[in-house]
Structures are given as C-alpha cells and as structure tokens.
Amino acid sequence: MPHRMTRETELAIPSELGYEQVVMASAAAVARRMGFAPDRIDDLKTAVAEACLNAIEHGNQSDVNRTVNVVLSEQADRLVVNVADQGIGRMPSRAPAPGQGSRHRGWGLFLIQNLMDEVEIVPASLSGNRIRMVMRRSR
C-alpha cells in the first residue's frame, strides 16, 4: 500500500485585521491543489477567515505583537486547519446564539460550525485558544 504523506503548510500572521485574507488565499490554494470544488473552497475561505478574526480580535486582543498561527494539513481524505492564538482573551467553547452578547463573535463561530464538516474549539489554556476545522473530500 503506498504511503500517503501528510503535507503541512504553516503560517504566522500578525494580529491585525485584514491579515486573515493572507490565510484565506493560502487555504484556498491548498484546497485547490487537493481538488476541492469551488463552492467548498469558498466555504473554507469564510471559515478560515472567521477563525483568524476570532484569534486576532478576541484571543490576541488585536495586539499586533502577537501572532495567529495556522497549520493547514493535507490528509488523504480531508484538509485539517488549526488556528491558534496566544490566549490573552478566552474564546467560548461553542458559538453563542448569533446576535446575543458580542454580535461579531456569535456570527463568526456560527458560520464556522455551519460551513465545516468538523469543528473543535479548545479555549485558552497556557498555550492559547485553538480552533480545529476539518473539510472532508466527499461530503
């Protein structure tokens, strides 16, 4: 059986609004290489953007000296994206009802959970918040 190697692409972006688009473009390029359909790539771009925005605004409190670290893992049957901040602010472990409390945060997590096949949110520990998102090849 041929060995399937996992390819990983790692990015580190400053915690400044707008830099999520750098990650969007990279994630889209990886997904295109993997052969995902255009509509799924659009889903991925939005989910990745929202994860990065959460990390920038809430996790890292928009401190440009702190980074958001992203790992794109190409696996045989899926693309796994991990977005991690440096954990100054705590992220909720699940999306609140959209529009409740901080309206921006609610919609971002709502979109992530509705666009991706699997979502895991790990709130702040010593090493920061992390969102793990999975997009499977066949949906």
Binding site: E16, Y19, R103, H104, W107, G108
Partner: protein
C-alpha cells in the same frame, strides 16, 4: 490593512440604491449607517442594495447589515439585494438576512419587481 467599504448612494428612477464597494467589515458600520440615514430621510419605501463590487463580507459586516435591515423593517422599507456571489447568497440565507430582503439577479431584475 483593513480597507473601509465605500457606500455610494445613487438613484434609478424612484429607487434609491446603496452600492457597496470594497470590503464589508467592522469598519463599514459608520458608512453604512450614514448612507441609510440619508435614505430614511427621503421617505422611500423600497431600497436596493448593490453588492456587485463588494468582494469580501465577514461576520462583522454581516452584523452591520443585520442592524441596518432591522432598522429598515421597522421603518417599513422593502429591501432588494443583487450582485451577490452564490457563496454570499448562501451566507445570507444561513444567517437569516435573506428572510428580510429579496435576493435578485441584477439591477434590471429588481426594477422589474418594483411595485408601481
């Protein structure tokens, strides 16, 4: 790096059109609210939202739109939207925005649907 959306207000006959150009994000709120206030003062019943030149809409932009749509509903305005990509149409449906505005194919489609 976050670029402010430009909101242009124009008229097509008796229909005011809000044209969004650029990126609809956190920074968009003031521009959108200012443009909507201008329309509100004009006493219009129907308003069109043109997204053809708006390439990026994030959750903050969506929250701003929801705020504007809520005001429009209270004021009794009928909203039309066009120029949305299929992906953005899906997002609008997902968050419920499509419940409060009619999503059309083009400006011509909007004009054809206007009540006399």
């Amino acid at each position: 790096m976050d670029k402010q959306v430009q909101v242009n207000l124009r008229q097509q006959g008796s229909l005011p059109i809000l044209e969004f150009v650029g990126e609809m994000t956190t920074i968009a709120e003031d521009s959108i609210q200012a443009a909507y206030r201008q329309i509100n003062l004009g006493g219009y019943n129907q308003i069109a939202l043109d997204f053809a030149k708006c390439g990026y809409i994030n959750s903050a932009g969506i929250a701003t739109l929801i705020g504007m749509v809520t005001q429009a509903r209270r004021a009794g305005h009928q909203l039309f939207a066009y120029g949305l990509t299929p992906h953005h149409q899906k997002i609008f449906r997902m968050v419920g925005l499509a419940d409060y505005m009619l999503i059309c194919d083009s400006e011509a489609d909007v004009l054809a649907r206007l009540k006399p």
